[in-house]
Structures are given as C-alpha cells and as structure tokens.
Symmetry: C2
DNA sequence: CTGAGGTATATGGTATACCAGATACCTCAT
DNA sequence: ATGAGGTATCTGGTATACCATATACCTCAG
C-alpha cells in the first residue's frame, strides 16, 4: 500500500475571516472606531454573512471589536488603561509560567529557547521579523508551562501587545535592550534559578510597559 | 414631563441560549460526552438554528464544549489536568488581584467584603447558596482590582470551579474551613498586609485543590 | 426659516433552504 | 454467514430571505 498522507479537512470560512480581520486590526489597516458591516465584508470576501457573523462574534469575545445591536460593530479603541490591564495580566501569567517551567525544563528545551534567542538576535534590523520572533520566544516559554489555558491566554496577550506595541520597538535601542533582557531570562533558566527568572521577566515587562506608553504618547 | 424609565433592549436569543446551556452543563444536567445537536435544541427552544449556533460557538471558545465539523458538538470532559490547570491559573490571577487591591481598597469596600463574608457564614447550611456567595466573594475582590480583563477571567474561572467543584463542599467540614480561610483573607486585607493576604489566598486555593481532587476520585 | 413627522434605506437579528460530509444500515453477490 | 458497496438520513456549513430597529433625509405646515 502506498504511503498516503492524511487528508486534512478544509479550513472553515469563519476561521479564515477571523484571522483576516484580526490581522487587519493588528496591522492598523482598520483603525479604532471604524465599522465592520456584515454585508460589506460579505461582498468583499465573496461569501455569505453567516461565517462573517461568527468571525465577528469571536473577535468581540476577545475584545477586539464591540457589537451594538442593529447599529453595527466597531473596532475598539486602545486606551492607556488597556495597556496597563494587559501588562498587569501578562506579569502575572509570565510569572506563573516561570514557576511552572523551572522544575520541569529539559536541556533540549533550553537549547530551543537559546536557538530562538539567537535567531531573534540575527533579525535585530528587521523590525517585523524581530517582533514575530519575540512573540515566539514568549509563547514557547508559555508552552513549556504545560498549561494549555496559559498558552491560550498568552497568545491573546501577544496579539494585543502586537496591536498597540508595534511601534515601541522603533524607539532607539529598544531592540538591543529587549535582547539583553531575553538573555537575562535565558541565563536564569539555565541555572534553574526561579527567583532570578521571575525578576528578569518582571524587569522585561516593566521596560516594555515604559516603551509602549512612550510610543502611545507620540 | 413624566419620569419615564429607560426602555432596555430585549436580550438577544444567543445570550439566553448561552446561559441556559452553560448552566445545564455546570449543574450536570448535561454530562460530559453528551451531544448538543443544533436542530434538536432549535426545536426544544422553539427558535431557529442561527442563535443556537452562536451560543454554541461561545461555549466552545470558553472551553465548555468541543465542536467537530459535520459530526456534532459535545460537552467536554473534566480531567484532573483541567483541575490543575484552572487552579494554577486561579492562583496567579488571585495573587495579582491581591497586589492590585491592597494599595487602593477603601474602608467602604472592606465593609462590603465583610458583609459578603457574613452572609456566606449565615448560609453555611444551604450548599447551593453557600457556593453562590463564595463566587460573589472572589468575584467582588476581582472587581476591586480595577482590571476588567481580570474580572472577566475570574468569572470564567468561577464557572469552571462550580462545574467540577460543586461536590467538594459536601466533604465534612469543608464549608467551615472555607469560612475560616475567607476570614484570614479578610483580616489581612483590613491590615493592608499584602504578604499575609497572598499567603491566605494561596492557602485557600491549595486546600480547595485538595478538596476538589478528593471529590473527583469518589 | 424651522421643526415635527413621514419615509426611504441603512443596520443587525432571525428564520429557512440547501449543500456536502459522516454514519449507520441495508442489500446482495459470494 | 460475510463483507463490499449502495443508500437513506443524520450532522454541521453556508447561502439567502425576511423582519424590526435605527438613522438620515426629505417634506411640508406653521
């Protein structure tokens, strides 16, 4: 018998629409306050309203848009409060990740973390890739926590960070600072030193907070 | 001009259906593995499939059910892993709540916490009400954090706790222990003592974990 | 000119029709 | 008896039709 590869079921429309719109929001192609009309999207994408409604609902549950019955759905604003909230949450979650991580991390996993760190270092000139790898770094650590709810939460947090933080890296020296801080985390992990790891991640988040706030004021 | 009261817009079907099904799951009227067929629900509830689909999607995003394309959607199981995951998350979130809470809590708010504590104490014989007030206690603390994302997360966590923990309270003396632990938290809050508050909440969660695990084994 | 009230036309909410994949069962050649 | 293959009938996915509300604009009496 031939070696057939498993046929994967086709991706549902609603999932594709969800990704598409979310990316458009994160990349600031759709701005806060702008409407998302179902019929409009339906025509643009060449599909019916049903999958679009479902994609929009998911976006609303994740806080990207706000739907007002019989008026429309609109992209939410980013306030300074949002930044504070997300970063407070991130601090707690990544602290937890460190606690769960340290007792179980293997040498192979540490190597992979280091590898991500190196590839990020190599891309320090390319802002977009740098940010993509930054996300990988934090999400991989979340995966190593072994807690699927934490992984999911961290993904949402990463997306929101990308949304309002994409310009924070343009600040002079922020990329280098990020790399130094990631290195601190990596070093602490290698030693399996929980206190140092938590301190390193907290410092990193605090500096990120400052950078993001600065970028919002401009 | 007469004093008219504002007309509130009617609740959407999908929201009602969502509540209904979620409660049925939490109260173990629908058991893990059981199917939720759209047409079936549609007939039972006397409405069309559209709002039902949207309610089911929300339930899926929150992890209550799993939808398999063209097969059906089924109530998820509760594994010990789920208990661990939720309680790990809860520990991190409620720890954060304490950190955010202590510097800002007012005397009036403290009084309200105490009031909730008293009313829970008064209902120690009525399991159902006791659990409802327990939820109020923790959710109110979350509100005082001033972080809306934390509030929402805590609500989801509370629901899941209710789902797999409803029998934990049947254990001998668990209600009294819960009350003592809540009192510890309250005392620490009154002193604005962060370290003591965190220790108290961590102890409470750890004991809850043990009780829930025991109740799952029976 | 002004503004109350009608009206056309947006919107999302809901109901319904139809499609394709999944499944169980039946049929029938072996 | 058995099992391959057809078939009826489940399922969710998608498209479409229709409804009520919300809104902007128009009309016309004053």
């Amino acid at each position: 018998m031939m070696a057939f590869s498993k046929i994967e079921q086709p991706q549902l429309f609603k999932q594709q629409v969800y990704e598409e719109i979310k990316n458009a929001i994160i990349n600031h192609q759709i701005l806060p306050g702008e409407p998302l009309y179902e019929r409009n999207l339906s025509e643009s994408l060449g599909i019916s309203r049903t999958p679009i409604r479902e994609a929009i609902q998911q976006l609303e549950l994740e806080g990207w848009v706000k739907s007002i019955p019989r008026k429309g759905t609109f992209v939410n604003n980013i306030s300074e409060k949002d930044v504070e909230e997300v970063l407070q949450l991130r601090r707690a979650i990544e602290g937890l990740v460190m606690e769960l991580l340290i007792p179980t991390i293997t040498d192979e996993q540490l190597e992979k973390v280091e590898q991500i760190y190196f590839s990020q270092s190599a891309q320090r000139e390319d802002n977009k890739r740098f940010i993509a790898i930054d996300k990988d770094f934090h999400n991989y650590l979340a995966e190593l926590s072994g807690n699927s709810r934490v992984v999911q939460l961290m993904q949402t947090i990463s997306d929101q960070m990308r949304w309002f933080g994409i310009r924070a890296l343009n600040q002079l020296g922020r990329a280098e600072q990020t790399l130094r801080e990631h290195e601190m985390i990596l070093t602490a992990l290698k030693k399996r030193d929980l206190a140092a790891a938590k301190e390193a991640i907290f410092t990193h988040i605090e500096h990120t907070r400052i950078a993001v706030r600065k970028s919002l004021q401009t």
